[in-house]
Symmetry: C2
Subunit: 517 residues, 2 copies
């Protein structure tokens, strides 16, 4: 692959052209200013749509023919159905049947279930994927088998890329747990209920053509219209859009690892000691085992000290819903629901508000919610002595995870990484992260079971916890201890072939993922 590489301000080699489009190298946090106007689809006319509002067509293939899906186009899907999704696979199966080629798949994320697309990559139906590639697709990309470069974006970065016209979606396919024949849709009911459809919102607004696929057609009006039928071209009824058991879990699982519980407890106590946990504060914690445990410890401390949060950012879980019901949280501003309690609460409780990457994360907006959050607890695969973070590759260089909202959440007033000291005897704290996903200046605290490291840039936080009994240590200290325990693993040699790039929240290229093996 003949690509010119240049060093960005973070010292990372990045290609100057990504999939035929000039790319802007990362220029530091806040160092890039966008120009021009937002993208916009062609003007439609009611003349071309049925007056009775019934946009149903017989099949996905019929819908594709109606909207004119053609070779080389960009086809987008969303990931609210997670590993239970049946629609993205069906879409490319249909495209293959139609004999289409060289489509770009633009999912908001992909999951192991989407290994189905490997045959379409092999056969040429899919040219390449821009979107997170978890598991098998990541391995496929890592091995250099994809024709184009993977482009990894955060949830906010995906909105930014669509909004700024960096990615032009020709056809969006939106799996909808509930929809009417006009195309109004939501994720709140039906066998595949997933809560909300925020990850598909940009697609519905900016794509030229929008197809809603549902297994739960309801009479007009489908309320609330998380997706508005006025943006929709066609509605397809299918027997099932996904496997409910893999979309949401009935109950959220707490980590059983004593180390991870200790990390969670340290992080919660840190929030209390640093004065972050005070009346009216806000926090974001996901559904991972450790961050879930964090929220549970935090709730205990809040209860003990009589503190109420103004809002919490989801992904929501049963536990967060209980905090809302108990009054420990006044509002949940939710980007995705991880279990059925989350779905129910969002459906029934107006204080449980669905959000979108526009409201929450889009860096090319007039502000967003991420920077208004007092504390965000996140994971990482690696963190280095400069507090730089990696979430997409492992230390062996293999691409195995997406970015999700991780980069976006770094904008919070206190971004904390909750990480075990080592995984498979490989230390998590390294000299230099394999792939740079988040600049160290935005990562404020690293919490491990062996101690807490505070970014020296945050003297205010260091001061706030000066009297604390928590095991606060310089990151170099922590690293030295881990290196003594595990030894410093040899750095794997990297190839010179880029297989993917990592975008920063402003659309610039912050790092490259290289072919392994």
């Amino acid at each position: 692959m003949a690509v010119k590489l240049e060093k960005n301000v973070a010292g990372r080699l990045v290609p100057d052209v990504v999939n035929g489009r000039e790319s802007v190298p990362f220029n530091g946090v806040g160092g890039y200013r966008p120009e021009g106007r937002k993208a916009a689809p062609r003007i439609a006319s009611c003349v071309d749509y049925p007056a009775d509002g019934d946009k149903r067509v017989g099949s996905l293939r019929e819908a594709f023919e109606k909207v004119g899906l053609a070779d080389g186009m960009v086809l987008s899907t969303h990931h609210h159905l997670r590993n239970g999704d049946a629609v993205a696979n069906a879409a490319f199966d249909s495209a293959a049947e139609m004999g289409l080629r060289d489509l770009m798949w633009f999912p908001s994320a992909s999951f192991p279930v989407h290994a189905n697309q490997i045959e379409h990559l092999d056969s040429g139906v899919i040219h390449h994927i821009e979107g997170s590639m978890n598991g098998p697709l990541g391995a496929y990309c890592s091995a250099g088998k994809m024709r184009g470069l993977g482009v990894l974006r955060s949830h906010g970065g995906r909105w930014q890329a669509i909004q700024d016209g960096e990615v032009h979606i020709d056809v969006a396919v939106i799996a909808a747990p509930a929809a009417d024949a006009f195309g109004n849709a939501n994720g709140l009911s039906g066998p595949a209920a997933c809560g909300l459809l925020g990850f598909a919102l940009a697609d519905s607004i900016y794509a030229e053509k929008v197809i809603v696929v549902t297994d739960n057609l309801v009479p007009f009006p489908c309320l609330p219209w998380q997706i508005q039928g006025n943006n929709v071209d066609a509605v397809v009824e299918v027997s099932s859009i996904g496997d409910p058991s893999k979309i949401v879990s009935g109950t959220t699982r707490l980590t059983q690892s004593p180390d991870r519980r200790r990390i969670a407890e340290l992080a919660a106590r840190f929030c209390a000691d640093a004065g972050i946990m005070r009346d009216g504060f806000s926090f974001q914690a996901g559904a991972g085992g450790t961050t879930l445990a964090f929220a549970i410890y935090l709730a205990e401390l809040m209860r003990a000290q009589g503190v109420t949060a103004r809002f919490a950012r989801g992904g929501s879980t049963q536990h967060m819903v209980e905090m809302l019901d108990e009054g420990l949280i006044e509002y949940i501003l939710d980007g995705q629901t991880f279990d059925l309690d989350g779905v129910r609460s969002m459906r029934e409780d107006p204080r449980h508000q669905d959000t979108s990457p526009f409201t929450s994360y889009n860096f090319h907006g007039k502000g967003n919610f991420a920077s208004m959050v007092d504390v965000a607890v996140l994971g990482a695969t690696e963190v280095d002595l400069e507090f730089n973070g990696n979430v997409v590759t492992h230390s062996d260089g293999r691409l195995l995870h997406g970015i999700g909202g991780w980069q976006n959440c770094l904008a919070s007033r206190c971004a904390m990484l909750l990480v075990p000291s080592f995984r498979d005897r490989i230390p998590v704290i390294v000299d230099e992260v394999t792939t740079l996903c988040g600049p160290g200046e935005l990562i404020d605290v690293v919490v491990t079971e062996r101690g807490i490291a505070i970014n020296p840039l945050r003297q205010d936080i260091l001061d706030a916890v000066a009297g604390s009994e928590l095991p606060i240590r310089p990151i170099e200290d922590l690293k030295a201890e881990l290196d003594r325990l595990c030894g410093v693993p040899a750095k794997p040699e990297r190839s010179d072939d880029p297989v993917a790039v990592v975008k920063w929240v402003d659309g610039t290229v912050i790092d490259t993922v290289w072919r392994t093996g």
Copy 2:
């Protein structure tokens, strides 16, 4: 005023250029197809907005200075505060203080309270108004005193004009009954509660700069965010945004006129006899005395026959809310709330859904709700033998009313005009309407106290009521009777000076309003 005039397909003389912009003459219903892409504002960046989300500035003037309001720009406001609005006046008072000139005022509608702007038109602060001009501003425009042409658009046409880039809003000022410092806003609470802010939604999305003005600042998050703070540049706190007593009425007033009650009753019985009023049907009826009476008669018939409506389109009133509470209506899809019961219901009942001109009326969308409504009852100032309708001028040619959603509602399956036979001894049925606002092919039924006329184009409706005892008569018959009673008034001479144009729902020019006196 040197403007070239040409005849459109309706035979109306219309200018080829409107306020310096080439205009497309009306080309028949569904006869014009838009080209190009939707408009879009410049891409913003979080770099330029406060990380803590606090966008408050000290005054409207400060906000104008911050966003760079300058001579010749377009400044928009909304009319949800109706005749109680204090913000549109304050905006132009501030602009005058700043010494600005030649602004275009782009309100979603204006009311008598906005007579305040006449001094700004006289002094040159406002160049001209594009938007409905009720009362004193209409008279001002009619008299030829405005420098530019008035442009009258329907609610849907206003969205279309903004979306299509026909009107580029530089600065939108949004009066908000509730807002947070980030700019999230709604109309549901506070002293100036007006229900929703749908008429300002296009402004918030498409304007370059957006200023929210509120007298009820609430802590973040202001929910629901009918206006999203992510589109907002600045928030201004003021002591009052309007006079509550003139924004909503405590109770909606039913007409006391026996003639109008008879019209309403005939119209309701017509819906029953024609089979329109059947389980799952939908209707739209406003808050005017006659249409309100219609809804009350309709409710009686529905109750008697055990019929339930799937949805009703607002403007909502206490009466419509009672129908929702009683179960006669399953959903209210509401464009504006006319009284406090409407506000409360919208705030508390998820079946009472706020809408926008995008969902309801925009003709340049992928369908809209208007054409899905079974029956819409509307008023008119004149209707002619071809069933053409006029809502903006009186028979003397004076511009006195806006279009509102009237043109948009003509798309319903059965559009009915409920009109008294004569006003001030002037017959409402005329040979030719003074100003053409709605093409006769879309107006299906005219109901007067002296009989009901059905458009001969609607043989299906004629058939449906063939056995009815209702006084169904040819429109020529009705007109002849009125002419016998009142005499045919002399047609007023019209000047050759256009003072305003009337746009059709697709942005084409359907007619011209001429200077009078």
